[in-house]
């Protein structure tokens, strides 16, 4: 019998405890075969025989046991319970979890995880906001199902009318100087998850859904590629026009993008310069070696190793310099025909950045993406995930209002993201942010959820960093990736957007808006006085 010492890891220290009912188990072995974390194993227990005899007999009994290890431990994903024919096994949350203490004490390293912060204990601001201005007899409301709505939003630098350079020549209006590129896109963007952060099947499903929504459903949705390379095939296809290419501080995959340029028949929808992300602001990308599969190595041009992107773009030291170097180069890459936007983590400093970009004299900043602290991530240090960042709502509002004060709202379109749909109300979150001043929203989280993510905001799974995602979404183990049904996920993504489209209209209609109510904060009320004052919207109780 193994000796048990106090200073060893014990089952009761782990975040999840396996509950196993031996009387229901038929020992089929499926639970242990299915566990991607190797957190459970078949084991033999020595038992005293129940029969009373002169000799003390023992018998060997086959059971399922939980592994007690810092590496192979249960994340509560629930696959064992899913695969068990008899309901003999399940993971139960351990309220007295001390795993992360033990991890740090043993490894002398910061604790890393994927998914999202698990410290969302306070109520969300967006849930305390309601769409309170409903057209009743004051003005005509619309019919969400049957009226025609215009949901598109501009992406790209918008010049005020007095700065448009038009002239009349031979009776026709002509541009005297080239205007900044602009696209009319759907106000929901599939948000930047890289190849590597998600599996190839997940990434392909998102790309198919994007293409289908554009070409079959007429919904001009864009997908931001994330920064993990892009298959050359896609770059050279017509579908690239629905893609927003991302460049982050790691500059992964740009070699193939640049090499493909002469063969590209279409330009991309846009370019997004990622400065920071809401889940771990001030920190760079993190792809642990376990996820750097062979094809990821190839497409990114790196060996199998922990891939850490620097926390900043090396060589950029100020907002002005960023405009001159990064924005200019990215604009030049496609001959000033593609809008170039920037994504930063929401922060106390966001307004300064936005203000500075508004003053860009070259009109080459085509969008400002703000990512809030409830955002998810493929991998992060827990300390960043749980303790850094800024809620999205007030910061988006600050940026919008600072532009309003200068009469410059809408000139650099604002897009907001981070934790949208957290409480199951994605379309409502999107609508409220739009009324507060966003031109649109971006989401990665919802795509994961739609694809079958089993994780939660309360510590379930959250193992996106390991490459062992049991749903095949963030996995890089071939056999786990192949659990994901590309066709089904693509269809479900499409369906979710169609449902979101209906739901956005269901909110636009009673407000009486047939086009996107950007900045229509008069449509909102809040049941919280502090929120009312902070966001400058009506208080209702």
């Amino acid at each position: 019998m193994a000796a048990v010492r106090i200073n060893e890891l014990h089952k009761n220290d782990l975040p999840w405890i396996i509950e196993y009912d031996e009387s229901k188990c038929i020992q089929c072995g499926k639970c242990t075969a299915a566990c991607s974390f190797n957190a459970i194993r078949p084991a033999v227990e020595q038992r005293k025989s129940n029969s009373i005899t002169n000799k003390c007999k023992t018998e060997r009994v086959l059971v399922i046991k939980q592994n007690i290890s810092l590496e192979n431990y249960c994340r509560g994903c629930g696959m064992c319970a899913n695969v068990c024919p008899n309901g003999a096994i399940k993971a139960v949350r351990n309220k007295d979890d001390k795993y992360s203490v033990a991890y740090r004490a043993e490894k002398a390293d910061s604790f890393k995880k994927g998914g999202r912060s698990n410290l969302n204990t306070e109520g969300r601001t967006l849930d305390k906001i309601k769409v309170g201005r409903i057209s009743q007899m004051t003005d005509p409301s619309l019919d969400a199902q049957r009226h025609t709505f215009e949901l598109r939003t501009p992406f790209g630098r918008v010049l005020k009318a007095d700065r448009l350079n038009f002239d009349v020549k031979n009776g026709n209006m002509i541009e005297t100087t080239q205007l900044p590129p602009n696209r009319w896109i759907y106000p929901v963007i599939f948000g930047d998850m890289s190849i590597g952060a998600v599996s190839w099947r997940m990434w392909e499903a998102m790309a198919i859904a994007t293409a289908y929504l554009n070409e079959v459903m007429g919904i001009p949705i864009c997908m931001c590629t994330g920064e993990g390379g892009i298959p050359t095939k896609l770059l050279k296809s017509r579908y690239v026009k629905y893609m927003i290419l991302q460049i982050a501080s790691g500059h992964f995959g740009w070699n193939r993008i640049i090499k493909s340029m002469p063969d590209m028949t279409e330009v991309p929808a846009g370019i997004l310069i990622k400065i920071g992300q809401g889940a771990k602001p001030g920190d760079g990308g993190l792809l642990l070696a376990s996820k750097v599969a062979r094809y990821v190595q190839e497409i990114r041009g790196v060996p199998k190793a922990d891939l850490l992107s620097p926390p900043t773009h090396q060589g950029l030291y100020s907002i002005e310099e960023s405009v001159q170097k990064m924005f200019l180069s990215m604009n030049a890459a496609f001959n000033f025909r593609v809008p170039v936007a920037v994504k930063v983590a929401a922060s106390v400093t966001s307004v300064s950045v936005y203000n500075n970009l508004l003053r860009d004299p070259y009109n080459i900043v085509g969008g400002f993406f703000l990512d809030g602290l409830a955002a998810g991530t493929g991998a992060a240090h827990e300390i960043s995930l749980n303790h850094t960042g800024h809620p999205i709502t007030s910061k988006l509002r600050d940026c919008y209002l600072t532009a309003v004060k200068q009469g410059r709202q809408g000139e650099i379109p604002l897009f907001a993201g981070g934790g949208l749909g957290q409480t199951g109300s994605f379309a409502a979150d999107a609508f409220k942010l739009i009324c507060l001043g966003a031109n649109g929203v971006f989401t990665g989280r919802m795509l994961m959820e739609i694809a079958g993510c089993v994780g939660s905001d309360t510590g379930k799974c959250n193992a996106c960093n390991t490459g062992l995602c049991p749903a095949g979404i963030a996995a890089q183990n071939d056999n786990l990736v192949k659990r994901l049904d590309v066709d089904k996920v693509a269809q479900n993504l499409v369906n979710y957007i169609l449902a979101t489209d209906i739901e956005l209209k269901k909110l636009m209609a009673p407000v009486g808006c047939s086009s996107l109510p950007i900045g229509r904060s008069d449509a909102l009320i809040t049941v919280d006085k502090h929120i009312a004052r902070r966001l400058d919207i009506q208080y209702g109780c």
């Binding site: 242990t32 075969a33 190839w200 392909e204 896609l234 296809s237 693509a490």
Partner: protein, 351 residues
């Protein structure tokens, strides 16, 4: 009885709508059935009126206000000499309403019976929400010229005929965004149509359609005093009809799977980067799809066969004192390793 003539302006004093309608009601009770009303914009003339003896009612009106013939009934005929403002024949349930000039907005709105003839054009949202109760004749709504935008919204039944006369300069004889939410009925239209809602289709006329138009056109033109246009309007080359798409047709878009098969990259987006035949794995798989597999070590094995007896997949066999786990059966559960008293089986990751 003689014709009851009502002048609504006396000594520069205008009779209110209430006074006029109550006067008409009183006169009907007195036996009058034939009215000539010189109105001053009073509302609802000719609506919800009936004689207790079941006689037909006839109204000749000039200068009516809104909702002439609103909620009007079978047996009522209303002739407006000139034009009428909004809501002509709103909720008409059976009257024949003739407007010799133009109608206003929302003409024939919600009409579910009777006939409405307009000798000019009508405004926005005309014909919206028309319905047809199958126990009665369908409502008919004839317009010589054109309609405003948003006409025939949410139309659920009935027949509209928009003749498009003298409308060549218009982009659309139905304005913009007409037929939004139309689920029933038919709109016959002559001339250009633009900006229709996506829930309807425009189709050619069949014989029944032509017969209907032929038989209805003469009385229509007669009533509005334009028989001279009969030949021009019965040239069917410019006529089409708008009908709602059926639910089946609305769903004919290809599925995502079909899109992927027809339009997407043949070997998949990552075909040149990964090996992937597209199979979707279950949680417990065999062979190369397993997460883990067992390895047998002959040096440690004592040949007790416990592994063979406990393997849930019956994957293990013994040949010449060698134990073999069949890849095609084994799911990598690790039971062989657990039960082996000598640790002869170990489990290793397949990836």
């Amino acid at each position: 009885m003689s014709v009851c003539k009502i002048k609504t302006l006396k000594n520069n004093t205008r009779m209110s709508t209430q006074e006029l309608l109550q006067t008409i009601s009183k006169k009907i009770d007195e036996g009058y059935t034939d009215f000539e009303i010189e109105a001053c914009g009073q509302h609802d003339i000719g609506g919800t009126s009936w004689s207790k003896t079941g006689k037909d009612l006839f109204f000749r009106v000039i200068n009516p206000g809104q909702r002439v013939g609103a909620m009007a009934m079978n047996g009522t005929t209303i002739v407006v000499e000139g034009s009428a403002p909004a809501d002509v024949g709103w909720l008409n349930s059976g009257a024949e309403i003739i407007v010799k000039g133009d109608g206003g907005d929302t003409a024939a709105h919600c009409a579910a019976g009777g006939k409405i003839y307009i000798g000019g054009r009508v405004g926005t949202r005309s014909g919206a929400l028309m319905k047809h109760d199958p126990k009665f004749e369908p409502p008919e709504f004839w317009v010589l010229k054109n309609t405003g935008s948003f006409s025939f919204e949410f139309m659920g039944g009935g027949i509209a005929v928009i003749c498009g006369y003298n409308c060549d300069e218009l982009l659309s004889v139905l304005g913009n965004r007409s037929c939004v939410g139309m689920v029933g009925g038919v709109v016959y239209v002559r001339g250009k149509v633009e900006g229709l809602a996506s829930c309807v289709e425009v189709v050619k006329l069949d014989k029944l359609d032509k017969d209907f138009l032929k038989s209805g056109m003469t009385p229509f033109l007669q009533k509005i005093g334009h028989l001279d246009l009969k030949e021009e309007l019965l040239d069917f080359s410019k006529w089409r009809k708008i009908i709602p798409l059926t639910n089946e047709v609305k769903k004919t878009k290809i599925s995502v799977k079909e899109f992927k098969e027809k339009e997407w990259f043949q070997e998949g987006l990552f075909g040149d980067l990964v090996e992937d035949d597209g199979a979707v794995y279950e949680l417990a798989q065999t062979d190369k799809a397993r997460l883990r597999k067992p390895i047998w070590n002959s040096n440690l094995c004592v040949g007790c066969d416990i592994c063979i007896n406990n393997c849930p997949q019956k994957a293990i066999t013994k040949e010449d004192n060698k134990y073999i786990s069949a890849d095609s059966k084994c799911i990598g559960c690790g039971i062989c390793s657990a039960v082996c008293p000598r640790n002869a089986w170990s489990v290793t990751s397949t990836n």
